[in-house]
Every structure is written in structure tokens, then in C-alpha cells.
């Protein structure tokens, strides 16, 4: 080292050593910048995911209140007909009212009774009805039943809405808190896994709203998108890359495809509205239209990914097959396309993941409607996960905020799963050779 510096020394100075030091310093500085950039990126990601997770995880549990409910025959079946169809129309709210009345005998004023009833979810009577319809033997008995609490109570129990503010700034009033505390004191309040969130459709009542309708809607939409975009996209890419002559027309097509990839997604929504709904009168709010619109949006992504995957296949492979007398179609089907498959699948799944997270074009074709039923097929009205997030985010009730975050978590899980699948498929197909 010193010898080398000295040998350079005869030029006049120890310039060389100084320059080397500067070069090393520049290298260290550059590495530091790189590490800083990664740290900043990762911390933002952690912050984002962390805040969603912290806000959302509470939605996976729900507060329940235990009541001793007497399934009074005079309420369920006042005329004694024994006809289950009449049972279904009975006033199960009365059962809850009687049960609460028995637990808090001092509450008489209609105003107070309403406040007391507001502890329990307004949907709890449907749960009681379902219990009776499932097991008519319950009629006439008294059972201890865990009923879902109202969303406001749920928020209070979870500590999301505060107790220590003036009464008129709270949705839950002092007398309700007193009753709730009494129930807590006797162990009649618990937090349990909120399965309903994963099995129900949307609802106006936060504690009854679930994400299953949106998941099913997303599934049908993605199936339509995949069924259209994958074959059309791959065929287009194969033709352009392997068969099309290079002339002005194919250049024009290529430029337009690249431009389409950069078109804002809402424009595709407008197109869907104008063409699929207004011209062809396809059903509004339906996954089939959403899927067609998203397929248009996903096509350029798939075409570009497939083309670059095909272009990356070494020409020697094509030549080998051609030289042995394979027809151009055989070259593509037997050699080029299989070799390009990892890239094709990765591009497709990434395009699909983008489509799964897309909201704007679906707003245009009416998938933003409030739909409480689980869609039974691609032509039933439906909504999708990101639109469900959007809808809940716009709801004023505090309880929908945690639903919003929880639905975002579910969406993220699906996206991560899809990206994981892309990585897996790429590895799997690459292993073949």
C-alpha cells in the first residue's frame, strides 16, 4: 500500500492516496444513502400497516351481553297455531324487552325503556327468531342467551369511544353506562370472536355488517376479469411478438397498448358505463360488467408483461426448434410460451392484484350501491372489497371506522396472497429446467 503510494510519489505529490480516500468516502456515503432510503421506506410501510392493523383488529371481536330470555309462547305464537311461518313474523323484540325489564325492574318510563333496549343490537331479535326456527323446542323455556351488543356499546366496551367526556358529547348516556356497568359486574358482558364479520353482507347497522358479500362480489368480478383478460392478453402478445410483421400498423398498435396502460382507471369506468350499460343494457352493479371493465384495464398490463417475457426467451431456443422443422405455431406452443410462462403468470397476477384493489371504475358502473344480499352469481348486484372499504369509510358511525380498517386488512391479505402465488408459480415453473 505505502509502496504503491511512494511509487506514485515520484510524480510529485501523494495525490493518489488523497484521491483513493475520497473515492472510499464517496462509496461509504453512497451506501449510507441507500440504507437510509430503505429505512425510510420500511418505516413508512410499518407505520401504514401498523395503523391499519391497530385500528382494524378490534373489528374481529364483538361485545355480547348475556340475558335470560324466556321464549314466551304468547309472544311467539299468540294464537297457538304451531305454524312456523307465523313464528317467523312474531315480535322477538318483545322477548328482549321483557328480559331486560325483568333484569332492571326499576325502568318504567318509555324513554328509559328505549335507552335500555338500545344496549342490545337492533338485529338481536333476528338471532332469537333464527334460534326458534332452528329449534321449536325452545318455546316455553327460559335460556341464558348471549346477544350482540349495539355498536355504540361495543365501542364503549372496547374503549374506542371515551367515557370521561360530558354526557351530551357522548352517544351512550349516563343511565346506559350505569346499566352496562351493572351487567359487567355480574359477568354478563364479554368480547367474543365476531364471525358475523366474515359471513354477513353489508348492513346499515354496524354490528351486523360483514364482508362476505364483498368477498363474493370480488371473486366473481376477478373470475370474469381473468377469463377475459388472460386469453385475450396472451394471444395479443404472442401475435405481436412472434408473428406480426414489423410495420407502421403494428407500431401503432404497440404505442396504443403502452398508452392504454397509463390511462387513469376512471376512464375505463366511463367506458364501461357508456358501452356496457348504456349501449348493451347489461345489468347495473353486476360483477360481470365490473369484470369486463377491469379486464379492459388489466389487458395492457398482461400484454406488456407477456411481450417482455417472450422477448426475453433466448433466440437460440426458437432457432433450435425451427431448424428441426417445427412450424412457427409449434415453436410458440412447445417452446417460447412455456419458457416465458413464469413472466406471463407474474404479469397476470400483478395485473389481477391491481384490478382487485381498483375502486374508481366500479363506482361508474354502479357497484357502489348498498347491497345487503350475498350475490349468487356474476349477474347479481354486488359490491367488491375496495368499494366496501370506500362505502364504510364514508359512514358516519364510529363503529364503521374499525370495519373500514378491518376490511382493508382483509383486502391486504388477499393481495399478499396473490403476490405470494405469483412468486410461487414463478419459482415452480423456473425449476423445470
Amino acid at each position: 500500500m505505502t509502496e504503491f503510494a511512494e511509487s506514485r510519489g515520484h510524480v510529485g505529490t501523494n495525490d493518489g492516496a488523497a484521491r483513493r480516500a475520497r473515492r472510499h468516502a464517496a462509496e461509504r456515503r453512497f451506501r449510507l444513502y441507500g440504507i437510509l432510503a430503505i429505512v425510510v421506506a420500511v418505516s413508512f410501510l410499518v407505520l401504514l400497516l401498523g395503523s391499519i392493523a391497530v385500528q382494524g383488529y378490534t373489528a374481529f371481536t364483538a361485545t355480547q351481553i348475556r340475558l335470560d330470555v324466556t321464549f314466551e309462547p304468547e309472544v311467539i305464537d299468540p294464537e297457538g297455531t304451531g305454524d312456523p311461518e307465523l313464528w317467523a313474523g312474531a315480535d322477538y323484540g318483545a322477548l328482549i324487552r321483557h328480559s331486560l325489564g325483568a333484569r332492571f325492574p326499576g325502568v318504567r318510563e318509555p324513554e328509559e325503556v328505549r335507552a335500555l333496549m338500545a344496549l342490545i343490537s337492533s338485529g338481536a331479535r333476528f338471532d332469537l327468531r333464527d334460534m326458534v326456527l332452528d329449534d321449536p323446542g325452545l318455546i316455553g323455556t327460559t335460556r341464558s342467551v348471549w346477544l350482540p351488543a349495539a355498536a355504540d356499546i361495543d365501542m364503549l366496551v372496547k374503549g374506542i369511544t371515551p367515557r370521561d367526556v360530558p354526557e351530551d358529547a357522548r352517544r351512550v348516556k349516563d343511565n346506559q353506562i350505569a346499566w352496562l356497568d351493572a351487567l359487567v359486574a355480574e359477568g354478563a358482558v364479554k368480547r367474543a370472536l365476531h364471525l358475523r364479520f366474515f359471513t354477513a353482507g353489508d348492513s346499515r347497522t354496524p354490528e351486523r355488517a360483514g364482508i362476505w358479500g364483498a368477498i363474493v362480489g370480488s371473486f366473481y368480478t376477478m373470475m370474469v376479469t381473468l377469463a377475459l383478460a388472460f386469453p385475450i392478453g396472451v394471444l395479443t402478445a404472442v401475435y405481436l411478438e412472434e408473428f406480426a410483421p414489423k410495420n407502421r400498423w403494428t407500431d401503432l398498435v404497440e404505442i396504443n397498448i403502452n398508452n392504454l396502460a397509463a390511462v387513469p382507471s376512471i376512464v375505463f369506468g366511463l367506458l364501461g358505463l357508456a358501452v356496457f350499460l348504456n349501449v348493451y343494457h347489461l345489468p347495473r352493479s353486476a360483477p360481470v360488467v365490473g369484470g369486463m371493465t377491469l379486464a379492459l384495464m388489466t389487458l395492457p398490463t398482461i400484454i406488456i408483461a407477456t411481450r417482455s417475457a417472450l422477448a426475453a426467451v433466448p433466440p437460440s431456443l426458437r432457432e433450435a426448434a425451427l431448424a428441426i422443422g417445427a412450424s412457427p405455431l409449434q415453436v410458440v406452443m412447445h417452446h417460447t410460451l412455456p419458457a416465458a410462462m413464469p413472466g406471463v403468470l407474474t404479469g397476470t397476477i400483478i395485473g389481477m392484484a391491481r384490478a382487485l384493489g381498483e375502486t374508481a371504475p366500479l363506482l361508474m358502473i354502479g357497484m357502489v350501491a348498498f347491497i345487503a344480499d350475498i350475490p349468487g352469481g356474476p349477474s347479481d348486484p354486488a359490491t367488491v372489497l375496495p368499494v366496501q372499504v370506500f362505502l364504510w369509510a364514508g359512514s358516519p358511525e364510529r363503529a364503521f371506522a374499525e370495519k373500514t380498517a378491518a376490511a382493508t386488512l382483509v383486502l391486504l391479505v388477499f393481495l399478499i396472497a396473490m403476490n405470494g402465488l405469483a412468486v410461487y408459480l414463478r419459482k415452480k415453473f423456473e425449476k423445470r429446467w
Partner: protein, 268 residues
Amino acid sequence: MEAQTALIGHNRPADATPVKMATRDLDVSYGAIQALAGVELDIRENEVTALIGPSGCGKTTFLRCLNRMNDTIEGCVVSGLVTLDGHDIYDRSLDVVQLRARIGMVFQKPNPFPKSIYDNAAYGPRIHGLAANRDELDEIVVTSLEKAGLWKEVRDRMGEPGTSLSGGQQQRLCIARAIAVSPEVILMDEPCSALDPIATARIEELIDELRENYTIVIVTHNMQQAARVSQRTAFFHLGQVVEMGDTVELFTNPQDERTQGYITGRFG
């Protein structure tokens, strides 16, 4: 003459050997660049014809005209006559897929398919429907691998990917793949340039064995190789055939001074 033959190490067949392929007034251009001009060459049956010359002289272009691989290159224009058994191979009615089954090709870099060794050899017979059943296909595969001198080395690993073989083995696999469709002519584009001397020697031996059944055209940069394996040699320079003749003649007594300059190492 006898002494020279012994020196080169090959027996020359009689001059009466029939012509397998021939070109007349062959011009090839890539866009504005003229790659070949007026090439006239005869390739004789069951002989090895070597094409030598400096880089960029058009040897490979010429070779790729013989099985119409130049068709796949954008902007490549071929004019003139190329015949196989007296028939024009650029005739419109000719099926190029069928032609390439008759004229096989081996490339500079070994390019086995990313499939098993078996599938590499079986691919050609499969797409051309040469085997009626699995047994016939097996037989074709084994015969071609035997002819390519690879069978003993791979008989226990037919399911392994062709790309797992060594460079020389891969090149012999490519030869086996080419001969599996029973071609009449085999074109070789510098088949040994990516191989070590031992693998090269193995391929050269193989070329000599294959000559019995096939007509072989080989492009090479290595003049010793041309002298060792070929019966006839063509010297290409700047897109033209400068000299064509008996290999021994050409190397010992070149007629053109450019040929002499090239083979004695003064240029190229």
C-alpha cells in the same frame, strides 16, 4: 498426392460423387448491406464440405440459406437459386417445415431444449409423426443417441434436463436431435467453437462417422479443423467464394493469393 492424403488423414471419395445441394448466383442482403454476392457452390453427397474465411465474410449467412433459416430474419432478401437434389428450395410451393426436416442444423452454441434428454431427441420425431408408438419412438431416440456417440453416457439419466450435460455432451445431444428426424444434409455452424479440445476431437470424430450416411456442411474458423474433417473446402472472402476445391489441394496448393494469405495466417 498419396502422401498428402496420408498427412491430412482422410480418404477422399472419387470425383464422381453426385451433387446433393447447389447454389447458383446466390445474392443475400440484410437491408442495405450485401452479405453474399453471386455465390456458386456445389455440395456433394456423403462428403464434408468446410466453409472457411475471416469473420463477416458470409459463411454463416450462406449456411443459413441452405435450410432457409434466413427467412426468420427481418429484412433479409435472398435471390438466386438454391437446389436440393435439383429442386429449388425457395420454390413457393415448397413447405419450409418439411425442408428443415430434410436439412438439419447444429448451432455454434449448444442449444438443447430445456426438457429432458429423452424429450430433446424425441421432439423432432414427435412433431413429424415419425413414430407410430412409444416403442418406435424409444428406438429412434436410442439410435440417434448412439449415432451421436452419447448413448453410453446418458442411458441412465434420460429423464434429466438436457441442459445439465457438459458443453460437449450438449452439442452431441443437439446432433442427436438433428439426426433423429433422419435428415439428408446436416449443417453445422462452428459446432466446436464453444468446446474444449477434447470435446472438439470427439465431435470431429463423430462428423467423420456421420459422413457415411449424411451430407455435411460445416462452417469453421479453425483451419486445422477444416483440414481434418472435410473433403472439400470453400474459402469465403467479403461475401464471395474466392476458391473452392478439394481440401488437400486447397490447403497445399491454393490458387488464389487471398486464400494463400488466409491459410498461412497473413490475415483473417
